[in-house]
Amino acid sequence: MRILGLALRRLASSLPTLLIILVGLFLLLQLAPGDTVDALVAQMGGGDPAMIEELRRFYGLDAPVAVQLANYLWRLVSFDLGFSATYGKPVVGVILERLPATLLLMVSALSFAFAAGMALGVIAAKRVNQWPDTMISTLGLIFYATPSFWFGLMGIVAFAVRLAWLPAGGFGTIGSGLTGFAHVLDVAQYLVLPTLTLSLGFLAIYLRIMRASMLEVLTLDFVRTARAKGLAEHGVVVRHVLRNALLPMVTLIGLQAGTMLGGSVVVESVFSLPGLGRLAYDSVVQRDLNTLLGIVFVSAVLVIVINFLVDFAYAYLDPRIGAGR
């Protein structure tokens, strides 16, 4: 019951934010030169004025901006995200088609970055200022400093073009008709490179944070106590230090869920994955207002949900946080 109450409170407090984002974006896009018909005409390579006016009417662009905005918000209240100009069908359908690829990529990249970052961070902290620490820290710096699209392209050149171990892009073998486990394996193969590409930058951050946080916690009194009562080093690190050192990492996950949605635009383009990031980019180029607003709406909801989950993880990791409520 308390969880439900908290969830509702959270939702209520994020509604105004959501509204401001949507209205702001709507108005911002009005400032961008050209509309979706201009974008369409550019794609077609020409059209005569009468036809162009007809298309404006068809997309409902002949109404004043205020009316368009009011219409949009009114539809939103009834959970109708509108009709996509580029795709010719309801925005909900367009987004739902694209959501799985993005979620899959996000979850696998976040998990990998988190797990590997944690492991490397712990090793670096345990061997601080020795060669494993230097090596891991240098590697982290390289990952952090290199743009992810470059990693992606180099990965394609090395593993797809030269070695032919992995596919160069896409989301599953086209027309393979695979089902069940074989299908999962097939898609997993296509996800290896994009996941690595997207996660390396984040991995570097996690690794740095984990290392610093471990070093800090290792100096605290309760660690000395644990050692003094005769616990094995492994037990000290895993049960006492790690758990406490994880808190800043969990905070980061919440913060980076949004960043990752944005970062996936590049990765999805390089690997031609049918995800939300690419959809958002295409929608901006095509001035497809409804789709873009829909994506922002869905992304905002995703970020809110993830942060909600992060709050619970806090309470689990450090009971003191939950106790105050």
Partner: protein, 534 residues
């Protein structure tokens, strides 16, 4: 039998021929088309609809042109050849054109193809919605259907038959009446799941990923197509597309969407053919568009100076890797039926350019600048980005400062053609086989403000307007050609805008594919005879 000199002469080559025969036959045996297989083709951008009867653009033809068919197509020589129309005839006044239609053709859903489909498509799609089609069919009054396999087009003004046929290869796709009738054509679900008469049947469109079409077993050309399936994959990132081609994931990239540097590299790889063969119908020209509302530009001497200040040949050889050449007017050399020789030209001559600018009264200031112009480049194609910086640097040499202002596609169109917010603009002129279809609209006055790729320059010439109109309604092909030659001479003298380079789209094709790029608009054509050699 006495061997005369004459028979000796005749038998000589015959003997040589018969000696060479076995190897020719062998080569042919090896090259017997094989049925089956799947071809994957690169697409850069997603299309909103796939119905070429509603949208005239190469991106739509590349997919829709395999599923739906036009009345005619162009053969290897660029002449109209029958597809859904088997013959055509025009009355002497050019106002009535009769098409005999192919019999025994059925739509992919089994319904027969008849003249009613032609009538519906012409009146409801070409005349109302199809870009370029609305202009082409402006004077089309009615399509009569005396029987199921005859369609009679009635025009209120003369329609040159050669213009119509050449245009119909692109603007003559037929859609099924029974699917569209009574619906809003723009919203019909068949636009993204097209139903046609073509060699391939639409199978699946997975947004953001791919389109699949499979063999039409009941295709009217017996024994065709050879392929089982065509897959079009959307790969927006050009570098990723190159990787997909190199790793064999895709076999062809036909829209000219790959980076020039990679094309130059792939050209040396024996696995691929990198060529503009088969793209003669898709000529692209880099433009210099002038805004006459700027007083400096309204001066003819300044426009000529701008042309003379830019070394176009150098640009083509070094920036475009020799894939393009200097153009000599609005009609490219790839259109031999209209290309005129001996029109006024302005070769690279920076000294003369400076002299012209001085004459015009724009002397260099203390900073070496005469005046500064705002250049708005179109965002499509890396060549335009290169061209705009090349223009900037060349013009700076003669004292014209250039400020480059970039927009995305929608922003470019509205800034240049709607708000006239530019001094110089540069983009592509895509020549579509006949000046009346794609080109004269850039020069004809009277286009409403905001119509893209039309005369929005603030320039007008009654003489040129009259020439354009006369040529559009001229039925005699020889006279039409003369009129267009005169037109090019006039606009090359006046310089209302300039087409600086000309090139054809470049396709990259895996050499395992056979029978490809063998007609001038091959990438748009039906691909019925395309096959894979293993």
């Amino acid at each position: 039998m006495k061997t005369t000199r004459r028979t000796a002469l005749l038998t000589g080559p015959a003997l040589a021929l018969s000696a060479a025969m076995p190897s020719v036959l062998q080569a042919q045996a090896q090259d017997t088309p094989k049925r089956g297989g799947s071809v994957t083709v690169h697409m850069q951008g997603e299309q909103r609809i796939l119905n070429p009867a509603l949208r005239a653009s190469t991106g739509v033809y590349v997919v829709g042109g395999k599923i739906m068919e036009a009345l005619v197509d162009l053969n290897a020589k660029g002449e109209p050849e029958p597809v859904l129309a088997t013959s055509w005839q025009s009355t002497p006044d050019g106002k009535t054109i009769t098409f005999k239609l192919r019999e025994g053709v059925s739509w992919h859903d089994g319904k027969p193809f008849t003249s009613a489909d032609v009538q519906y498509t012409a009146m409801e799609m070409w005349k109302k919605h199809l870009n370029y089609g609305t202009t082409l069919q402006l004077y089309l009054e009615a399509v009569e259907t005396p029987d199921a396999h005859t369609a009679v087009f009635r025009y209120s003004r003369p329609m040159p038959l050669d213009l119509l046929l050449r245009a119909l290869a692109d603007l003559g796709y037929i859609a099924p009446k029974h699917v569209y009738e009574g619906t809003n054509a723009l919203e019909n679900p068949a636009n993204t799941a097209p139903i046609g008469t073509g060699p391939f049947k639409f199978s699946k469109y997975e947004r953001g990923q791919y389109v699949i079409a499979v063999r039409n077993e009941n295709y009217w050309r017996k024994g065709f197509p050879y392929l089982d399936q065509i897959v079009w994959r959307f790969i927006p990132d050009p570098a990723a597309a190159v990787a997909a081609i190199e790793s064999g994931q895709i076999q062809m990239s036909a829209e000219g969407a790959l980076p020039l540097a990679d094309l130059d590299r792939l050209k040396k790889d024996p696995k691929f053919e990198v060529s503009s063969r088969g793209n003669e119908g898709n000529a692209v020209m880099n433009t210099i568009e002038f805004n006459f509302r700027r007083k400096e530009i309204a001066d003819h001497r300044v426009r000529e100076a701008i042309l003379r200040a830019i070394d176009i040949d150098f640009f083509c050889d070094n920036f475009l890797y020799g894939f393009a050449k200097r153009a000599s007017g609005p009609i490219p050399t790839s259109s031999p039926s209209f290309f005129p020789k001996g029109t006024p030209q302005y070769p690279f001559d920076p000294k003369k350019a400076e002299a012209l600018l001085d004459q015009a009264g724009y002397r260099k200031g203390s900073d070496g600048k005469r005046f500064t112009l705002r250049l708005v480049p179109a965002p499509w194609g890396e060549d335009i980005a290169l061209w705009s910086t090349f223009m900037q640097q060349s013009l700076q040499q003669v004292g014209i400062g250039i400020e480059i202002v970039r927009f995305d596609a929608a922003g470019f169109l509205s800034n240049v053609y709607k708000d006239w917010n530019y001094d110089l603009a540069t983009g592509w002129h895509q020549y579509r086989g006949d000046p009346a279809v794609s080109t004269t609209v850039w020069y004809r006055s009277g286009s409403p403000k905001g119509a893209p790729w039309t005369n929005q320059w603030g320039w007008k010439s009654d003489e040129i307007d009259n020439l354009i109109d006369a040529a559009a309604f001229e039925i005699d092909p020889v006279r039409r050609r003369q009129l267009y030659a005169e037109f090019v001479t006039k606009v090359n003298t006046e310089i209302p805008l300039w087409m600086a380079t000309e090139r054809l789209l470049i396709s990259v094709t895996n050499k395992s594919l056979q029978n490809h790029h063998n007609t001038p608009r091959w990438i748009s054509s039906s691909w019925a005879d395309l096959w894979i050699k293993s």
